[in-house]
Amino acid sequence: MATKRVAICAVAQHKNEPDLWYRRFQNMLLDVLEDLQGQTGFKYGEGGVEMIVSTSDDFFDARTISNNGVTDVIGGQYLAEEKMAQEGLNAIGYANAIILSGHKDLVLIMGHCKESQGESRNMITNCGFDPFYGRATGLDYLNAAGLQARAYMKKSGLTDDQLAEIVVRSRQWAVKNPYANAQEAIPAGKVKSSPMLCDPIRQLHAYPVSDGAVGLLLASEERAKEFTDNPVWITGFANCMDTFFFGDRDLTSNFALKKATANACRKAGIQDLKKAADVVEVMDCYAYQQPMWMEGLGFCGEGEGGRFIAEGGPGKHRVNLSGGTLAGNPLIIAGLYRAAEATLQLQGGAGDRQVPDAKCAVAHSTNGPAGQFHSVLILEA
C-alpha cells in the first residue's frame, strides 16, 4: 500500500543576491545540498534519495537542458532526475504525486536561477510571447504586469500610496529574513518618487533582479521521521492555466488562481482558507500583485484589494513575512522560496518572523504573463 501523505522534511535556501557574479550554479547548489544533508543526514542511492526534481529555466541559464550542468551536484549520477521547467512550486506538487503514486518514497527538489546572468530578464520574458504578434509589439512580463496593474487598480481602488505601503512593509519584514535580497528599509516617499518602469509600476514596486537556489527534501509519511522531527504535511496542491491572448482574458478576474485555490482547498478539506491559514506566502513580483493574489486566494471579496490593504489585511493574515518576492527572488524559483518560508513557519524555524502556533500555511506562485498560470500549495503541521 502506497503512502497516504507526503511531508516536507527540510528546506535549505541560498540567500537571494543581486549579483552573484563570482559563483556558479554548482557552487550555490552545493551549499544548499550540504545544508540539507546536515539537517537530515539523507543519503543517495538504494534506500535513500533515488529521485531528484530540479527546477531551472533554459533561457535564464542560457543553456539547453539547463539541469545537465548541475546533475553532478544535485545527485543525479545513475539516479532519476527530472526538471520542472516551469515555476518551482509545481515541483513540490509533482514530487508530492511521485511519492503518493508509490514510485519513490523520497524526492529531493533542487532549484536554481540567476537573473543577473543575462543582460535583461525582460528580453527573456519577451520571448514568452508568440513570435508573430506579442513579441513584435514588445510585450514582456513587466509591461504585461503594467496592463494588469492598471486594470486592477481601477477595479479595486488600490492606490499609489497603498502600493508604497506594501513595499515599505515588505522591507520591514525582509530585514528579519536572512535569505532576503532587498532588506534596506525605505520610506513611502522614496517608493512613490522612484522612476516609472511601466505605468503604474515604479522601479521600487518591482522585485529586484535576484540570484538564488533552494532545496527541499520530501518523504512519504512512513519515512519522514528518519529525517525530521517536524514534518510539514502537504495537504493540498493544485494549479490552473488561463488562456494566452490578453484580449481573451479578463486580466482582473483571477480566473486561474481562483480555480487552483478551490481545487487545493478541496483536496485539503478546507472550506474557508482565510480562516484556516495562519501564514500566507504569495509570489508578488510587483506590489499590486500582493492584494490581487490575496483576492484570488479568497482572503477578500471581488474587487476588494484596496480595502484589504486599507484594513491591514496583510498584517492580519500574516502575508509575506519573508518579505515575499518583492524582496527579491529569481523568477523561476520564487515559489520554492515561498514554500520554504511556509515550511519554516510550520516547523517553528522562522526566527524573528515566527508566527506563534502556526498550523496551516499557504504558499503560492504564478507563471506566465500577467498571472496566466497559478499554483497553490497548502501545508499543515
Binding site: D58, Y78, L79, E81, E82, K83, I99, L100
Partner: protein
C-alpha cells in the same frame, strides 16, 4: 530491493500523432500541437472536458520560445485545467509519460494528457544541442550529436569488418521496418544486397559514422492520454495498455570520462538492471515481445541493445546476424522504424512508448508484429547519455 508498490494502476487509452516531415511550414507550433491533441482525444473517444491535467515539456532553446506552454495553452487544451511542464533532454517525451503515470497513479488526477512536440526548423537544432554544453569549456569542443566513439569501442572488441556489417544490417533492417510504417519520415527502400555498397559509398560524417547511420531531424507532435484502472473498467474506446513500471538513469555533463582506460557502466545497463530486477525479469530477451528503442544511430542502436538486454560478449552481434531483431524475429526492435527514420526530438521519446502501445493493442497497421504482443519495452535517450525506460503490459497480471 524494496518491492515496487503502485498506488493504483494506470493505462494508456489514447494515442495521437501528427504527420512527420522535415519542415512543417503550413502550421505554427500551436496548430501542430493541437493536431496531436485532437488525434489523441479522437483515438480515446474523449473530449477535453474529460481531461483534468495536461503535461507538457520541450527544450525551450530549440524553438526559442520562453515557457512555451503559455502560448501552447491555445492548442493543448490546458485552459482551466491543471498543467505541469517537465523536461529532461531528448528523453523528454518518455519522461512525460513517466510523469503522467505518477500523476494518475497518485490519485491526484484521473485523466492526464501528455504532449511532446518539435518544430526544429523554427530554431537551430545544432545550436540547441551545442548549447547544452557548459559555456565555459565544453561548448567549444562540442560537435553537436555526432560521434563515432561507440563504433570505435565496438570495433576494438569485435573487429572492424564484423561490426561495420552488423551496423549496416541494423540500418537496413530499420529502414525495412520504416517502409511498413506510413507515418515514418525517412523511408529509403533499402535492400540487404546494398549492404556492401552503402558501407563504401555513404559519406563519412565522423570516423566510421556515416550519413546513412544517423537519424535526421523531423517536425511533428505526439500526444497520449493516461487514465486510472477505475475508468478503464467503465469501458474505453480502444484496449488499454498498462504501464507496469518505469525508471530513469542520469549522469553528469562531463563526456570526457566516458572513454578512459576504464569505461563506466552505461546508464542504459544501470537503468535496465534496476528495472528488471525489481520486476523479477531475468531474461529480457525472452520476456519482451517488442522493443521500441530510442536509436539515434545504427552503432548506438547495436551497442545499446546489448546494454538494455543485459547481453554479454558478442551475443548482440550473433542475434543481429541471425535476424532475431526483425519483425518476425525473437525480439522485434523498432517496428516503427525507430528514431533513425523519424526524429521530432521533443516527441521522439514519446513515440517509443506510443508505438509500443500500438503494438500491444494490435493497432500498428502495416508495421504490426504478427505474433501476439503482451509485454513491451520502450526506451528514451537524451542529455548526456541519459536513459528512461518504460514497461508496458497487455494485461493487469504481473
Amino acid at each position: 530491493m524494496k518491492k515496487h508498490i503502485k498506488n493504483r494502476n494506470v493505462a494508456i487509452i489514447g494515442i495521437g500523432q501528427t504527420t512527420l516531415s522535415s519542415h512543417k511550414e503550413d502550421q505554427n507550433q500551436v496548430e501542430m500541437v493541437s493536431e496531436a491533441v485532437r488525434n489523441a482525444l479522437a483515438d480515446a473517444n474523449m473530449t477535453l472536458d474529460d481531461i483534468d491535467c495536461i503535461v507538457h515539456g520541450n527544450m525551450e532553446l530549440f524553438e526559442m520560445q520562453f515557457q512555451p506552454d503559455m502560448w501552447h495553452a491555445l492548442g493543448c487544451g490546458s485552459y482551466g485545467k491543471d498543467e505541469y511542464r517537465i523536461t529532461t533532454g531528448g528523453t523528454v517525451g518518455a519522461t512525460l509519460v513517466c510523469a503522467s503515470d505518477s500523476l494518475v497513479a497518485s490519485g491526484q488526477y484521473d485523466n492526464v494528457l501528455c504532449l511532446g512536440f518539435e518544430k526544429l526548423q523554427e530554431g537551430n537544432t545544432t545550436g540547441g544541442i551545442t548549447n547544452m554544453a557548459d559555456p565555459l569549456w565544453f561548448r567549444n569542443l562540442q560537435t553537436g550529436a555526432l560521434t563515432s566513439t561507440t563504433a570505435t569501442e565496438m570495433i576494438k572488441e569485435f573487429g572492424k569488418e564484423r561490426v561495420l556489417r552488423a551496423a549496416m544490417k541494423y540500418r537496413i533492417m530499420i529502414d525495412k521496418h520504416a517502409m511498413l510504417n506510413e507515418r515514418a519520415h525517412r523511408r529509403l527502400g533499402l535492400e540487404y544486397d546494398q549492404l556492401e555498397t552503402l558501407m563504401e559509398t555513404s559519406p563519412q560524417l565522423v570516423g566510421e559514422l556515416r550519413l546513412i547511420h544517423m537519424c535526421s531531424q523531423s517536425d511533428g507532435a505526439c500526444a497520449m492520454i493516461l487514465t486510472s484502472e477505475d475508468r478503464v473498467k467503465k469501458g474505453t474506446a480502444k484496449p488499454p495498455v498498462w504501464i507496469r513500471d518505469h525508471e530513469t538513469s542520469h549522469r553528469g555533463e562531463n563526456m570526457s570520462n566516458l572513454y578512459g582506460a576504464k569505461k563506466p557502466k552505461s546508464t542504459h545497463r544501470d537503468c535496465a538492471e534496476k528495472l528488471f530486477k525489481r520486476n523479477g525479469i531475468e531474461n529480457p530477451l525472452e520476456y519482451f515481445d517488442v522493443f521500441e528503442m530510442y536509436d539515434p544511430s545504427a552503432y548506438w542502436g547495436l551497442d545499446w541493445l546489448r546494454e538494455f538486454l543485459l547481453l554479454k560478449d558478442d551475443e548482440v552481434l550473433k542475434l543481429m546476424e541471425a535476424g532475431e531483431f526483425d519483425m518476425d524475429g525473437k525480439l522485434p526492435v523498432n517496428p516503427s522504424g525507430g528514431v533513425i527514420a523519424s526524429n521530432p526530438i521533443g516527441a521522439t521519446a514519446m513515440l517509443r512508448p506510443a508505438e509500443a502501445a500500438l503494438q500491444i493493442r494490435g493497432d500498428a497497421g502495416g508495421h504490426q508484429i504478427k505474433k501476439e504482443v503482451r509485454h513491451a519495452l520502450a526506451s528514451g535517450f537524451g542529455g548526456t547519455l541519459w536513459t528512461v525506460m518504460l514497461m508496458l503490459e497487455k494485461e493487469l497480471n504481473w
